[in-house]
């Protein structure tokens, strides 16, 4: 490779590409490169740093003024010392920032390259501002940086980072529009870009301020010694570059030096107030400013000789954006639709409420999504709610239709692991017989024979009920309803009637003789009510063949829960007049008021009516009422 002809030109091209890409950091998820697990911004930065390392090895010259070289080396040493002591969470990013600064300071010293890079950033910032304004107006989730991972608010660090980026681009736009260094066309383009950036900045800040969370003013004065030394090293480099710009401005009052000083001042002011995390763009911009203010002879820029590469780069950006909008890669953690990676963080941290609310957001947007229910099931199991876990597990395994989903259904190892954990949870319960969650999960997975064998083994009819004779069909229907597969009804009805009754009794059924006024042909009569965070499910079955199932959506979801055997909700017959009724009451929820009632018409028809909306915590066990003849 010929050093003089190849490396500087490649590095300059990558620097201009980075200058175009950095304003898109808030939308970095669109530029994610599958397989490499980095964004195009990170990849280009790595390219610049690799070329710098090659140049360093080939020529053994740092090409950085001594007064900047020693604090840079000290900063690198301090970063890794802090990382070794566990005081810095992202040493690679911090190192990347520093190395990008050094590389940009070296390769940016070509004639007119810094101006060209900043002009590219100005236009790119205008494009980002346009996209953001469109996102604000249309409310589209994929391009709104403040709707991240389903969180309905703005992470203060994201807001600070995006806001600072817009402010810096605005300074560039003002420079190119009003300083007289650009042609008329460029001035007009810069003015349009600046107007878009200003509008987007106002829009983002106005939308974000009322909804931001996690704002903690920077704690620069409570840092430990090592972290403070690291910060001061970085600040010293920053101050030294700004001072160079001021000295250069005093010597030759070119407008570009005013822009450099404005950028340094805005960044310094912003970083004093806002908790912005280090970004690659910080290193890049500081390196470009450094390249612009370090005195000395500049070589001719070579970047303009690569039109083919520019077209390829634009094609790559467009291709990656389309790919990442069409498909969510699990490793693309910053993708706002990647609930999988968010759940993987929420679950070990026991943030179950956040996890459930996040899944709400995605299920409203993608109703066919099944994997959200898998995470709900895991959360419910971790909270000791086996019935809810089994119910969500069944939803996770339902076959999705042809509509697109973000993530696939749980895999076989995942379902096996879940069922094993559910079995262990049920076995460890104080009254394992009362739980049918494990059997329900087996049914959902298609292991119907195993589920029925377990139930048959657990259930023994007592002698008293064995003497009575009645039709077991409504009881079998109720059991099949609770197990989540009505096709099981026929096989359960083949059991002896007392055994089916014993099964429902195991599950907490209230068994009572039907009152005198109750239609004789309707008994045995079964009513089942299941309350879920998002739904109320009701079933009623009579011996005369009448059946009714109802599902009501709960408008206000509540992810609280009572214990697995939590009582407080009952099904009971109410005054038998001309129309017999059965009332569902939830004591802990509506102060014992009736929530729903079932009316039995003279012709035997069953009619569920909603009386009040259940709110508040959800019991994990169903309510079952059996009226025997």
């Amino acid at each position: 490779m010929n050093w003089r002809r190849s490396v500087p030109g490649d590095a300059e091209f990558l620097l201009v590409a980075l200058a175009a890409l950095w304003p898109w950091e808030a939308y970095g998820f669109l530029l994610f490169i599958p397989g490499l697990h980095v964004t195009l911004i990170g990849f280009a930065a790595f390219g610049v740093i690799a070329l710098w390392a090659y140049a360093l090895v080939a020529r053994w010259r740092l090409q950085l003024p001594f007064e900047l070289a020693w604090p840079t080396l000290a900063l690198l040493a301090l970063i890794w010392a802090a990382a070794a002591l566990g005081k810095l969470h992202s040493p690679f990013l911090a190192t990347g920032c520093v190395l990008l600064f050094v590389a940009a300071a070296r390769f940016g010293r070509a004639e007119g390259l810094v101006e060209r890079a900043l002009w590219t950033s100005c236009l790119s910032g205008g494009a980002v501002a346009g996209a953001t304004l469109w996102a604000l107006i249309s409310g589209m989730l994929p391009v709104a940086p403040w709707v991240r991972l389903g969180v309905p608010g703005v992470d203060a660090r994201e807001l600070a980072g995006s806001g600072l980026g817009f402010v810096l681009c605005l300074a560039m736009a003002i420079h190119f529009a009003f300083s007289g260094v650009a042609s008329r066309t460029k001035r007009v383009a810069a003015a349009i870009s600046g107007a878009l950036i200003l509008a987007a900045l106002v829009g983002v800040v106005a939308n974000g301020l009322g909804r931001s969370f996690g704002y903690i003013p920077p704690r620069y004065f409570s840092l430990d010694g090592l972290s403070l030394a690291t910060l001061l090293s970085a600040l010293w480099i920053f101050a030294r570059v700004a001072a160079k710009a001021e000295v250069q401005r005093r010597e030759s009052p070119r407008p570009i030096y005013v822009l450099f000083l404005a950028m340094a001042g805005l960044a310094a002011f912003g970083l004093a107030w806002l908790p912005a995390a280090p970004r690659l763009s910080h290193g890049l911009l500081m390196g470009l400013v450094c390249a612009g203010v370090v005195p000395g002879k500049r070589r001719a820029a070579e970047v303009s000789r690569r039109p083919g590469a520019e077209i390829a780069a634009v094609g790559l950006v467009a291709g990656l954006s389309i790919l990442n909008l069409a498909h969510v890669f699990p490793a693309n953690e910053r993708h706002p639709w990647n609930y999988e990676s968010a759940a993987r963080r929420d679950f070990p941290a026991a943030r179950y409420r956040a996890l459930e609310q996040r899944m709400d957001v995605f299920e409203r947007r993608w109703p066919n999504e099944t994997r959200t229910h898998y995470w709900r099931a895991k959360a419910a199991l971790a909270r000791g709610l086996p019935h809810r876990a089994a119910r969500e597990f069944a939803r996770a395994l339902r076959s999705g239709d042809d509509n697109r989903t973000l993530f696939p259904s749980p895999s076989d190892p995942e379902t096996n692991d879940f069922v094993t954990r559910l079995r262990d949870c049920c076995s460890a319960a104080p009254e394992p017989k009362r739980l049918f969650a494990f059997e329900r999960a087996l049914v959902a997975r298609g292991n119907t024979d195993s589920a029925l064998a377990v139930l048959e083994h657990q259930t023994t009819a007592d002698a008293a009920s064995s003497r009575t004779r009645f039709d077991a069909t409504p009881l079998a229907d109720a059991a099949a309803f609770l197990l989540g597969d009505m096709a099981l009804s026929e096989r359960l009805a083949a059991w002896p009637a007392p055994k089916v009754l014993a099964l429902l009794e195991n599950w907490g059924a209230t068994v009572t003789p039907a009152p005198q006024s109750f239609p004789a042909e309707a008994a045995p009569f079964v009513v089942v009510a299941q309350l879920l965070p998002d739904q109320v499910e009701l079933f009623a079955g009579a011996a005369n063949g009448s059946r009714s199932t109802q599902t009501w959506e709960r408008p206000e979801r509540d992810y609280g829960a009572t214990a697995w055997n939590g009582g407080g909700w009952t099904l009971a017959p109410a005054e038998y007049g001309e129309t017999p009724r059965i009332e569902l009451r939830i004591a802990a929820d509506t102060d014992g008021r009736c929530v729903a009632e079932l009316r039995i018409a003279p012709d035997g028809a069953l009619d569920f009516r909603r009386v009040a909306t259940p709110i508040g915590p959800t019991p994990d066990t169903p309510a079952i009422l059996v009226l025997l003849p």
Partner: protein, 53 residues
């Protein structure tokens, strides 16, 4: 040569001044930021979440 050394000295003085000015600004931001801007760090509001469709 003398000019270059003078420029470096001027740069150093300016850098020290800028550093001190920034530290003073950060101290003000620390106090005022906590008093004025600090908010609850809970990302999920108690009410049902809303999302743009």
């Amino acid at each position: 040569m003398r000019d270059a050394i003078e420029k470096l000295r001027l740069e150093r003085r300016l850098a020290i001044l800028l550093l001190l000015a920034w530290l003073a600004l950060a101290a003000v931001a620390r106090v005022v930021g906590f008093a004025v801007i600090s908010r609850d760090a809970e990302p999920f509001p108690a009410a049902r979440v809303e999302v743009a469709e």
